[in-house]
């Protein structure tokens, strides 16, 4: 994390629709120049939260401070906050240059400075050659760049990105994610991104805030949220995972069936669920010496290019997925007996909240 904490500060933020709490008591601090991703499934309240920051949505309770200033009562057009809209919302009746100039005109900026600023912004997103075009004449990626230039032109203190890649096709997405991240880093802007795509959140953000039913359920760096999910929901939303129910034998041992496997931080005697990522499971073709590996049978193989996903059946447990990489020849055929184990820190004990 970079910058000083609390540049953007949310306290007890709430938004209700009838009896539903779209945003349910959110507390969050985001540092200056930090890129923060709000990640969650559709309907989790992330877009509502973003629109509250923009001033496009009312606030039922709580406060929003930006750079020490209370934003609550400021209407959208007065906030030092700009947003890149989901489908970009470029004005179809204006040229690219006029779209970028729109926000500057509202400031009453003199023509020479305005023109210079528009050129600067278009150069930043490498769209200088398209200034006279209309948005309809641009490709999706080009429209996105114009939308970015338009939202950056007023030099906002906070930039909001609403599903920035949703309107692009898959191929272009990866490319644009990288490019967008470079631009945002280069101008050191504070930024909140809303997305339902975990890869997008992990590639672009310094920190991720995972949202579920209006609440922030976990906040942390992409690695932290991925490797140490706190709930079943967090574990599953960030990627494929094996969820295994067992009883904690001691602080670092969990009983799964008739074997004891390593884990970390369990309360002895409790029924717990551990989450193990498929790539963290070690596969053995002979029983390891410690004698406490899960014994199972290989039942299926999915070839995914660089790696393979093996399906393993272990008596008394749900079917497990294991990811192995390396040469395909080394993969045993289905029906082979295999043994599985993992390192203690790779089996995360989940909170039984959900």
């Amino acid at each position: 994390m970079s910058g000083t904490p609390g540049f953007l500060s949310l306290r007890g933020l709430e938004r209700r629709y009838g009896t539903v709490n779209a945003v349910d008591v959110v507390d969050l601090d985001i540092g200056r120049s930090e890129i923060f991703a709000l990640l969650g499934p559709s309907g989790c309240g992330k877009s509502t939260l973003l629109r509250m920051l923009a001033g496009l949505e009312g606030i039922d309770a709580g406060t929003i401070h930006l750079d020490g200033e209370l934003l609550n009562a400021q209407p959208a057009h007065r906030r030092p906050v700009n947003m890149m809209f989901q489908a970009y919302a470029l004005f179809p009746h204006l040229t690219v240059a006029d779209n970028v100039a729109f926000g500057l005109r509202q400031l009453g900026m003199e023509t020479a400075r305005l023109r210079a600023r528009v050129e600067e912004m278009l150069a930043l997103v490498r769209m200088s050659d398209y200034a006279a075009r209309r948005p309809q004449q641009l490709s999706g990626g080009q429209q996105q760049r114009v939308a970015l230039a338009r939202s950056l032109a007023r030099a906002p203190k906070l930039l909001l990105l609403d599903e920035p890649m949703a309107a692009l096709d898959r191929q272009l997405r990866v490319e644009m994610q990288r490019e967008l991240r470079e631009i945002l880093r280069s101008i050191e802007i504070t930024c909140v991104i809303v997305t339902h795509d975990r890869d997008e959140a992990m590639t672009m953000a310094d920190r991720i805030g995972l949202m579920q039913q209006g609440r922030l359920v976990q906040v942390g760096s992409p690695e932290a949220v991925y490797d140490r999910p706190r709930t079943r929901f967090a574990a599953e939303f960030l990627g494929p995972v094996n969820l295994l129910d067992g009883v904690a034998e001691s602080a670092d041992r969990v009983r799964l069936g008739d074997r004891l496997l390593p884990t970390a931080g369990a309360a002895p005697g409790a029924r717990i669920t551990v989450a193990v990522r498929p790539e963290d499971i070690d596969l053995h073709l002979a029983p390891p010496a410690h004698g406490q590996a899960l014994a199972g049978t290989l039942v299926g193989i999915d070839y995914m290019g660089a790696h393979r996903v093996l399906e393993i059946e272990v008596p008394g447990l749900p079917r497990l997925s294991v990811i192995v990489s390396g040469s395909a020849q080394k993969t045993p055929p289905p029906g082979t007996a295999v043994w599985l184990d993992w390192w203690p820190e790779d089996a995360v004990v989940l909170e039984e909240t959900s």
């Binding site: 496009l56 959208a76 057009h77 809209f85 919302a89 338009r150 939202s151 007023r154």
Partner: protein
């Protein structure tokens, strides 16, 4: 749908039947109007020289009717007054219709259907009846005067019926749905995110309206205005029932020349000039229609 080479005659029937009907009963008549406007008047039934003049010389053209239209100030002032009344009514219609259309477009989707229906219903009832309704409201013993007299606000009835004011009210009332529908159609298609984007970029509500809503509604404004302006210029019923004897409108003049004076060639000449006046707005309307049809697809 793809073209179907298997049955080209089916394709030609689909195109041909409406094309022939409209050519015969819509296009051809204009040619005849032009021909009659150049014919001699006659004391006969019908009151024009026969189609084939004496000895088959059927192109015996005369410009006397057009000359009359130019020389007699009655006609010139009728054209000008029609243009004035139609222009003012169109602007009034736009001023009344725009907030209504905007309100419709912003209403909750489940209300839009019923509200739209409420706008259209009046146009399903008879124009004649709706104009007639205003006779009972604006007259000297009409609803408004009765109320004002009873309240003691006036002691002489206000003269409203048989004035230009009544004609404006009548045209706005009768043509309002034609203004509102195209306006609504364009306004409802404006992506709300554009308005939010404008506000996000610092535009105040009036600026959002002037710089985003209005430019994006241009198509609807043109279509609606033409749907009011063009028929209003030639309007007959409204000035006849609500206007005064001095409310000159060209539709009324044409009617009187035709029915009262039985001056068919002169009426035809009036129609020809009126059509010429309307060519520019007609072209504008057609241009707008085909553009929105293109967008539709």
């Amino acid at each position: 749908m793809p073209e179907t080479p298997a049955r080209p005659w089916g394709r030609w029937l689909v195109i041909g039947i409406p094309l022939v009907w409209l050519s015969l009963f819509f296009l051809l008549p204009f040619g005849i109007v032009l021909k009659i406007s150049l014919s001699e008047a006659a004391v006969a039934i019908p009151p024009v020289q026969p189609w084939f003049g004496v000895e088959g010389q059927w192109l015996s053209a005369t410009f006397e009717h057009f000359r009359l239209l130019v020389s007699d100030t009655l006609y010139l002032s009728a054209y000008l007054s029609s243009l004035r009344i139609a222009t003012v009514s169109t602007v009034l219609c736009l001023l009344v219709g725009f907030p209504l259309a905007l309100g419709l477009a912003r209403a909750a989707p489940r209300w839009q259907g019923i509200l739209l229906l409420l706008v259209i219903i009046p146009s399903w009832t008879s124009l004649l009846i709706r104009v007639y309704a205003w006779m009972g409201i604006l007259g000297n013993t009409g609803v408004i005067n009765n109320m004002l007299l009873a309240l003691g606000l006036i002691d002489q009835p206000l003269v409203m019926l048989r004035t230009d004011f009544a004609v404006y009210v009548g045209i706005v009332y009768a043509y309002l749905p034609f203004m509102v529908l195209p306006l609504y159609a364009t306004l409802v298609r404006i992506d709300p995110a554009l308005l939010e984007a404008a506000a996000d970029l610092g535009a105040t509500a009036p600026t959002v309206f002037l710089r985003v809503v209005l430019p994006l509604a241009t198509g609807g404004i043109i279509a609606g205005s033409m749907l009011v302006f063009i028929p209003a210029i030639g309007e007959f019923v409204i000035p006849e029932l609500l206007g005064g004897a001095d409310t000159l409108m060209i539709g009324r003049v044409l009617w009187q020349e035709f029915f009262n004076n039985r001056a068919w060639p002169l009426a035809a000449a009036v129609a020809v000039v009126l059509l010429a006046v309307l060519l520019a707005p007609l072209w504008l309307f057609h241009h707008q229609q085909s553009r929105s049809l293109e967008l539709e697809r």
